[in-house]
Amino acid sequence: MDDLWNEAQAQIEAATTSAALRDVEVAWLGKKGRITVALKGLGALDPGERRERGQVLNRLKRDIEDALARRRAEVSRAEIEARVRKDRLDPTLPGLPVACGHLHPLTRVLEDVEDLFERMGYHVMDFYEVEDEFHNFEALNIPADHPARDLQDTFYLEDWRDRVASAIATGRDGLPTVTERNALPTRPPPALLLRTHTSPGQIRAMRTLPRPFRAVFPGRVYRFEATDASHEHTFHQVEGLMIDRSVSVANLLSAMMTMLEGVFGRRVEVRLRPGYFPFVEPGFELDVRCLVCGGRGCPMCKSSGWVEFLGCGLVHPNVLRAGDLDPSEWEGWAFGVGLSRLALLRYGIDDIRWLMSADVRFTRQF
């Protein structure tokens, strides 16, 4: 019996492939296998011998099965390893393309700024682009004879109600030609315009939000001026406003530093200078220590070491009143920063007109 075991064991160990191992299994344990045949032959033996030999054969069968399983694992492992050894990949081949679009660089900057302010507890709001003179000028303490209200700075709209009336009256569509329209500078401008800044949102926010509050309102603004590499008649700003019981220049400075830290991802040195904006008093220009040269002087900062970054100040009492707030009860600060400029700075875009170019080759870079 030991001979049988030794023989089986030798065959199992000699098999080096799964196929050879299967042959060994068939030869011993298959329907016509030697163990199977031997087990079938037990019937011819007498009962005592049958039991004794049966036990031996069954043990042998289990041993062979165990040996086969062990060897099968070894062989299969060796086979996989052999296959792996031969299996090669050229790692320099590119990944398969996945169709993925791109957000506009302005959107990327905008979302960063929105997220930043949201984390700081600001409302992020969206206001109208077609505004009225009250919200764009009067309410912001920009008096009627302020230069900013001249036609050369502001896109004014024809009043559509007049147009409808004149169409009804004349029986034609009543629309003046471009030349006719531009030849009418002495007519008092109608009440509607394209907002020249995001500041009208200050009034709308003051009138709608529960106080105290902090809010930012980003968006598209318009200026009636010719475009070139650094000027656009359509660009983006974000306005910020805080209203509380007591608000100081020191608070404004702190908030601006926190914001700039978020925008630039690091602490930046800032300074306040007097700046004139009719809707704040006192008003400031905020300069940032030049991020290119660190203040040593370079073309970016025109050798001054500082880059003018935003306008801000304490909200003028007339503006609070226009926002239905009592200046003896409420105070505030406000700031406005150019998102377009931020995008140009961040991505090193050399011409502002790319932003509105709708060129896919531009968007795909971001």
């Binding site: 929105e114 559509w160 702190s254 006192p282 009492p317």
Partner: protein, 801 residues
């Protein structure tokens, strides 16, 4: 605007201060300086010399041989300068001396004559860009000593950003700047003498029609004037400030303006008919020629300085050509006035005349300033034209002066609002240094009277005073202090959240690129494509004839983007989120201006109908995915658009809807439009009104147990006509397949044998599943058979069945 350090020293004691340090402080305290420049440095090697004699050059007629007296020593040189005269004192540089920008000067022989010195122009010394002749120094200049000791050639020029001082009428002259510098350095401002001698003859008659147009008008006559070039000092200061010297009288008016900030105007008295000056509005259409030779047609909003017959100056903007100072003028009338700022600005804008004068008057000048200007002019006239003196008494027409504003402010308020402690005495001292009058009330409150030079527009409320104190204390001394915490969280603006979701889904799930375009459609494109944007808001003032209306849909701009991008990119998909504008009432009394999202996909290779369909279906897929991810209910884009857009293919245009409500369109671009754009292939556009989307109900997602028993799928192909709507089969399938049907999806469509011509085969895959058991084949067969029977009953043939 430019200021010189030496000129500032006329008005304030600034000895010992470093001009560059003052310049830095000025930017932080008053207004941004655009530039600071030292001029006239490095001229120690230059010496004044008197021209002793001038002789002709033997061989070169354009040159002269100059003998120069250097104070006990004579040198000879050759010069071609046109303005040499015996007795004149001129700067010279001797060989071996260094000149900035030139280097060490050498002796030269100039056609046979040794030139032992060089006489210098202002440009050669780097003093200005004037190289018209040699610089003529005052005749009293000591000769032979280094030039910087003999004449004030060294100076520092500050350039202030004009935009930074639009609110400060007091800063448009050296006197006002000197006041600021004195206040911030603790120095003393010298008082400005207001008194001046008058003539004895009766004053000119001055009539001011409307005091609102002209709150103050002073006029005085002068006689004995001789019009000659200005002396060195005046010409030099004008040049340093960027003005061109003309003659002593005109230069003096400019000098007075730059000195005290008040534009004054000198008339030739011979040209003032009737010896009367009337400040009146122009008649409609009244012609006027300004001294630059331009003709203007005035309107009744223009303010005119007139004599008995006609206009002699466009008030506050520019004098008339006819009444100006001429070479033979001997009698002069000087005007010192203030005008309505808005009127001056409008006139200067209307006639395109932006002058030094109008720039100042439009800022609201102090009506107490004109006498100061007249005093300075009168005093200096005798210097620039010896013998000239006032001939008439002064005419002074003044509207009653407004009371100077008084403001009460508590020192504690100043400290609280600045966020830094400023003692009451310091606040009072700062305000006094800026010439405010300050009284401290018994309760400590400061009672402040605003000085007239700050009272016209600039300062009227306590906040204005806080700014004055803050900027002199120095904003760099204010420590940042975090604002108070506001309790609670802020709700997210639903529109901004929606816009962000849409952008991200279109870019990162749809694979599209975001663009931004103007809010104005191109009129040229609309005309070329014969597209009517419908009722639109229109601009009253336009930058170009191409931008006249506000956009009513983003699609028009996307067509423009298609044309531009197709020239370099064969296939792309772009989208824009932005507002569109309608001439109809919306919220808050403004025109309705909802947010839209517009999408355009383009494939130059999509020339076949099948490829165009694929492009259409791809965008439909993206669109429905977006609507589904927005949790809208039953998003769909199956129904033909009721009135397709003019740019749309009429048979490839559907309404985009959710909850059964249309929110937008999805349509192929009409082949005629594609042809007009010269874009081969196909393009598809979708435009959805996000304001409408925001108003739709959103579904809440709820968990469905994952089925434990396997599902069975069965495909069924229906033969339908080419024009039929395959999607309509889905409800039929659902209606007859029984309750074990859990899904129906479109698999494919097929044209060609054995499908009859004019027909196509449309294959749907049905999925059957039961929550409690494995379905038997027989059960599924039975369900499918019911669908087949229903289809046949409805006249739809089944393929392979």
């Amino acid at each position: 605007m430019k200021f010189t350090w030496n000129w500032l020293k006329d008005f304030a004691d600034l000895d010992g201060l470093d001009p560059l340090a003052v310049a830095d402080r000025f930017t932080l305290t008053v207004a941004e300086l655009e530039g600071v420049e030292r001029v006239g440095t490095g001229l120690a090697g230059v010496r004044p010399a008197r021209i002793a004699s001038l002789d002709a050059h033997p061989s070169e007629p354009r040159w002269r041989v100059v003998t120069l007296d250097l104070g006990g020593r004579e040198v000879r040189c050759v010069s071609g300068a046109p303005n040499l005269a015996v007795g004149a004192v001129v700067p010279v540089v001797l060989p071996g001396c260094e000149l900035p920008g030139v280097g060490v000067v050498k002796a030269r022989e100039m056609r046979g004559i040794a030139s032992e010195a060089v006489v210098l122009s202002e440009a050669e010394m780097g003093l200005s860009d004037d190289h018209g002749g040699v610089l003529i120094l005052p005749p009293t200049t000591p000769v032979g000593v280094p030039l910087p000791e003999a004449a004030p050639v060294e100076d520092v020029i500050f350039e202030v950003d004009n935009k930074a001082i639009t609110h400060r009428p007091d800063l448009w002259g050296h006197w006002g700047i000197a006041r600021e510098v004195a206040a911030m350095t603790g120095r003393t401002l010298k008082p400005l003498d207001e008194s001046f001698p008058q003539g004895t003859v009766e004053a000119l008659r001055v009539i001011v029609d409307d005091p609102a147009d002209c709150p103050r008008y002073l006029a005085m006559g002068y006689a004995g004037v001789r019009v000659v070039p200005s002396p060195f000092q005046i010409a030099r200061r004008l040049r340093l400030c960027g003005m061109r010297p003309i003659n002593n009288v005109v230069d003096l008016t400019n000098y007075v303006m730059l000195a005290v900030g008040e534009p004054v105007h000198a008339f030739d008295r011979r040209r003032i008919r009737g010896d009367v000056i009337r400040v009146r509005r122009a008649a409609p259409g009244e012609p006027f020629r300004t001294l630059d030779g331009q003709d203007h047609t005035l309107c009744e909003d223009d303010l005119l300085i007139a004599d008995a017959e006609r206009g002699i100056a466009l008030a506050g903007v520019m004098g008339g050509e006819e009444s100006g100072i001429a070479d033979d003028t001997t009698d002069v009338v000087l005007e010192c006035a203030t005008f309505h700022p808005g009127r001056i600005r409008k006139t200067s804008v209307r006639h395109g005349l932006r002058t030094e004068s109008s720039a100042r008057f439009e800022k609201s000048l102090d009506p107490r300033l004109p006498p100061k200007a007249m005093a300075l002019f009168t005093r200096m006239l005798a210097e620039v034209s010896p013998g000239a003196a006032p001939s008439t008494r002064v005419a002074d027409v003044a509207a009653p002066a407004a009371d100077l504003p008084r403001i009460r402010i508590a020192p504690a308020t100043v400290s609280r609002r600045l966020g830094v402690e400023v003692p009451g005495e310091r606040t009072a001292a700062i305000l006094r240094s800026l010439e405010f009058t300050v009284h401290t009330a018994p309760d400590g409150v400061l009672e402040v009277q605003v000085p007239s030079h700050r009272a016209t527009r600039d300062i009227s409320i306590p906040e204005d005073l806080i700014e004055e104190v803050g900027r002199v204390v120095g904003y760099d001394h204010i420590p940042p202090v975090p604002p108070p915490i506001i309790e609670g969280h802020v709700p997210r603006d639903p529109m901004r959240a929606l816009i962000r979701q849409v952008r991200h889904l279109l870019a990162f799930a749809g694979g599209l690129d975001e663009v931004m375009t103007y809010s104005f459609p191109s009129e040229a494109l609309l005309a070329r494509l014969r597209l009517d944007p419908g009722p639109s808001l229109r601009l009253r003032n336009t930058l170009s004839a191409d931008h006249v209306r506000l956009r009513t849909e983003i699609a028009h701009n996307l067509l423009a983007a298609l044309e531009r991008n197709a020239t370099h990119t064969p296939a792309f998909g772009v989208f824009e989120v932005g507002r569109v504008f309608y001439p109809e009432p919306g919220p808050d009394g403004l025109p309705r201006q909802p947010h839209h999202v517009g999408v355009l996909t383009y494939d130059r290779g999509a020339s076949s109908s099948e490829a165009a369909t694929a492009l259409f279906r791809r965008l439909k897929g993206i669109l429905l995915l977006v609507l589904e991810r927005l949790d809208l209910e039953t998003p769909a884009a199956d129904e033909p658009a009721g009135s397709p857009k003019p740019w749309a293919h009429p048979n490839r245009a559907v309404t985009v809807a959710a909850s059964g409500r249309g929110v937008g369109v999805l349509a192929a671009v009409h082949p005629a439009v594609m042809q007009a754009l010269d874009c081969p292939g196909a393009a598809v556009i979708a435009e959805v009104d996000l304001d409408a989307v925001l108003a739709l109900p959103r579904r809440t997602r709820a968990f469905t147990p994952i089925p434990r028993f396997p599902s069975v799928q069965a495909d069924l192909s229906f033969i339908v006509e080419e024009g039929a709507r395959a999607g309509d089969l889905v409800p039929m399938i659902r209606g007859h397949a029984g309750h074990t049907l859990v899904g129906v999806e479109f698999v494919t469509e097929y044209r060609g044998p054995p499908v009859p011509a004019g027909h196509r085969s449309v294959t749907f895959r049905m999925t059957f599943q039961a929550p409690d058991r494995t379905l038997s084949e027989a059960e599924v067969r039975e369900s499918v058979a019911r669908v087949v029977a229903a289809a046949r009953a409805a006249g739809v043939a089944i393929r392979d069945a």
